[in-house]
Every structure is written in C-alpha cells, then in structure tokens.
Amino acid sequence: MARSRLRLTKVARAEERAAWLFLAPSLVLFAIFTAIPVISAFFISFTQWNLFNEVTWVGIGNYLALAKDEIFAKVLGNTAYFVLISVPVQIALALACALVLNRGIKGQTFFRVIYFLPVVTSTIAAALVWAWLFNSNFGLINAALSLVGVTDLPKWMGSTRWAMPAIIIVSIWQNLGYAMVLFLAGLQNIGKDVHDAAALDGATGWDRFWHITLPLLSPTTFFVLVISIIGSFQVFELVLVMTKAGPANATNTLVYYIYQNGFQFYQMGYASAAAMVLFLIVLAFTLVQYKLQRRWVHYG
C-alpha cells in the first residue's frame, strides 16, 4: 500500500515536471511579450518620455491632460460614432445573410465564399481600393450617384460629414463575412427537428424566427456582439489609408490617436495613457455584456 502511493506521487511529480517543460516556451514568450508589457504600459502611462530624454514621472498628469484634451474628446466621440453605427448594421446584415444562406438555395457555397473574401483580404489593400472608389472627382461611387441623378455629390473623405460614413461602409463590407460565418455555424447547431415541431404546431415563419431561431441563436449573437465591439474599438488601418484622421480630425479614432502620439510625436507616456483608456473601455464593455447576457442569452 505505502509503496504504491509512493510510486503514484513519483508519477504525479514526473507528470508535473513534464507539464512545466511543455509550458516553458510559451511561458517565456508570454512573459516577455505580453505579461511584462501589459504591466509596463501601466507604468509608462504615468511618465513623460520621448525615447531619447530621461524618463520623468508625472503621476496621473497624462490622464489629467487627456481629460482636458479637446482632440481626445473628439477622438472618443468619433470612435463611439463608428462603433455605434458599424456594429449593429454589420450584425443585422450578417444575420440576414446567414439566414438566407442556410435555406439550401442554389449556389450557396459560392455566395458564402464571395461574402467571406473581404475578411481574409488585407485591410490596407481593401482601404486602398475603397479610397479610389470613394474618390470624389474620379471615383466609381460618385459616377454611379450622378448617373442616378444625384447632383450634390458628397465629397466623402474630403468632407467632415461624409468621411466617417465612408469608413463605416468599408468596415461593414470587410467584417460582414466573419459575423455571417459565425451565425451560419450557430444556425447549424439548431436542430431541424425543433423547426419541424414548431411548423406542425402551426407557427409561421416569422413566429419561428422570433420565438425559436433568435433565442436559440442568442449565444452566437452574444459572441458576435462581444467580438465586433472589441474589434471596432480598434479601427485603425482604414483611417490611416483613407483619411489620415482628417479632415480636421473628423475621423481620428482611439487607436489612430495612440499611433499618432506614440509613433509620430514620440510621446510614449501620453500614448500609453490613451492605450490604457482603450483597455478600460473594452474591458468595461465586455464585463457589462457578460452581466447583461443573463437577460437575453439562452444556453440550451
């Protein structure tokens, strides 16, 4: 008895040692490139540093400056505008596409691939072609608009009013397919028998959608919502290529502002403070959604 227990602990200890050996590469990389940087970013946000001079500790000075920074207020507003429009539209369109592409319509595999192509395309390349499409003098979009009789053609990226909508359109175009694929996978998890039973009970298509499909799909919707919100708060490449935050900061967003301060003005402390604000916003949104999910997400 005593001998076998001794043997067991020996095996368990060998297993433990093996586990840490298998974890070693990931632990080292995780510590160097994720864990320590997250902590450092927190500390850097309390300093003033341009990479060349001495590091100065400024306490919450950067955060106070952010609170008073008029451009930063505008940046937050722009980012909120972008998230509030692009996320709901994208989710609604993606759900509609998924529902239609789940009916067994002919050519549905082809459609799924086409709708998904923008997801795997580099955002820089996508933004370039869209910048060309939105070009207010020679672009295809304004050509099409004037063809259908629009005389007051929008200046798109050159106008404070239309620049953000242009970026939102491209973002929806690019991310729609991702949400659609997640919805399709979610729909396939709902058994056909549930629908058949409801149809036998006399439920119409709309009834089934509202009372069966939507509730059963809610875990997927929840996941799509969380992922889309986190992703939209980080919009950057579209801004960089299409507008460079202009005109007059009309399209300056959180990540673009972090990039500007950190890598164009070399204000590492200030940029880190802005990054911390981004982190807190994303965290708050995610936590609130986890709290709220009990009210509308049904796990089968």
Binding site: A12, E15, E16, A18, A19, F22, L23, S26, L29, F30, I32, F33, T34, A35, I36, V38, A41, I44, L51, C97, V100, I105, K106, F111, I114, Y115, L117, P118, V120, T121, S122, T123, I124, A125, L128, V129, W132, F138, G139, A143, L147, L176, G177, V181, L182, G186, F223, V224, I227, I230, Q234, L240, V241, Y259, G262, M268, A271, A275, F279, T286
Partner: protein, 274 residues
Amino acid sequence: MGKTATDWVLFVVLLVGALLMSGPFVWMIATSFKPAADVFQFPPTLFTADPQVENYLRIFTTIPFGRAMANSLVVSVLVTLLQLITCSMAAYAFACLRFRGREVLFLIYLAALMVPSQVTLIPNFILIKTLGWIDTYQGLILPYAFSSFGTFLLRQYLKSIPAELLEAARIDGASHAQIYLTIVLPLAKPALGALAIFTFVAQWNNFLWPLITTTKPDMQVAIVALATLQGQYNTDWPLLMTGSVIAIVPVLLVFVFGNRAFIAGLTTGAFGGR
C-alpha cells in the same frame, strides 16, 4: 408566395449582394491594368482599351516589392511554424497533464485575449528598440511566436482525445515527449491545420507592428510596402492597385485551398468554449 418563388427573389438579392461584395476586387484588378492617364476619366470605365501588363513589372522596379513579398512569406511561415510548436506544447500540458496551478495559468492566458494589442505595442516597441532589433527578422517574428488564441483552440481540440488512450501509452512505458509526438500531434492534425491557416493569414495581413519596427525598405513586409507606396505615389492608382492585387493573392490562395479548416478555426472560439 411559395417556397420556390421566395427562393428566386432571395437568389436575386444574393446575386446583387455578391456583386457589391466582389465589386471592389473586380475594380482593383481592372484598374491594375489601366494606363496612368486612364484613371482620370469621368465617368470611369471598367475596362481599358489599352491594357498595361507592364504595371506588374513596374511595381517591382519602382520599389523593392519582390523583397517585401519574400519578407512577408518568411515572417508569416516562421510565425506559423513557431506558433504550431509553442501552442501545441502548451495545449498538451493544459489538456492532457495534471499539475498544480493549471486552471489559474490557463485563465491568465485567456485573460490576455481581452487585452487590445495596442496596449502592449509601446512597451514591446521599446524592448525591440533597446535590443537593437529594429529592421530584423527576429523583431518581426518573436513577439508573435506564441498566442493565447492558438493555445485555447488546440486545448479545446485535445480535450476530446480519450484519456484511456494516453493512459494506455503511458502504461506501455511511453514518455510524455513520445506521447505528444506520436499520438497527440497526429490526432490533432485538423486543429493544427486550422491554426496554421488562421495564423498565416493573420500574420500576412499584420500591419501596425511591422510598420513601426521596420525603417529600411528592404525589411518591409508587403502590406507595409503597399502603405508606403501610397505615401509616395498617391495618384498612381494603377500602380497601387497592382500592388494590392499581388499582396492579396497569397492569402486568397491559402484561403481557397484551406477554406474549411480556416472557418473551423474561426468558429472554434464561439463554440469550443463551453
């Protein structure tokens, strides 16, 4: 309206949608063949009367775009290989081995998924700069050699391997390294394939990190070279579109051949978690 009639209407709607989704690609390809002067016609035409195949040569002579494509390939392939190794090793420990602190460590790895990459950007940049790794392959590759996402994806998959199978191998005297190499990795091929395609595509399209850690044109990856090209030739739309076409072809190829595996990888996050 009967089911077939509804389906016909929806088919037409889908077709219009497909036109909107694929239109920018068609426009990109069409523009890439245009002579520089052609693009300033209004209204624009889709096809040019004078297709310029030499645009596809011009891009390689205007900037070191061939080198940039090679850099992208080297970085993306190496990052993918490294992640397959480090993530599968960690996933094996989390899914198949017992050790103290397993749940806590796994939670820490998962929590990292919530941290926006821009938070670690500045400290990592300072680190790479201090090490003198600006304009080096190690600077481009090593920060991406491990990912929490990959570990999570593989662990969910490895959990489905029956414990009896591994136990039997252990009783037969196989070491953990042997079990990992000869049983676990071969069984995990579908998940490894999904992770490989996902990582390759994400890395090829990665932009901000290579943008700030490279200064020499020779060390730029294709996507960064493309963005730089925009700064230098911002009205040469045929050239910009040529670069875009070339830069997205490798990813489209990988996607077309690995479509199923890629989507399996994307959806695991949504459905493997419970």
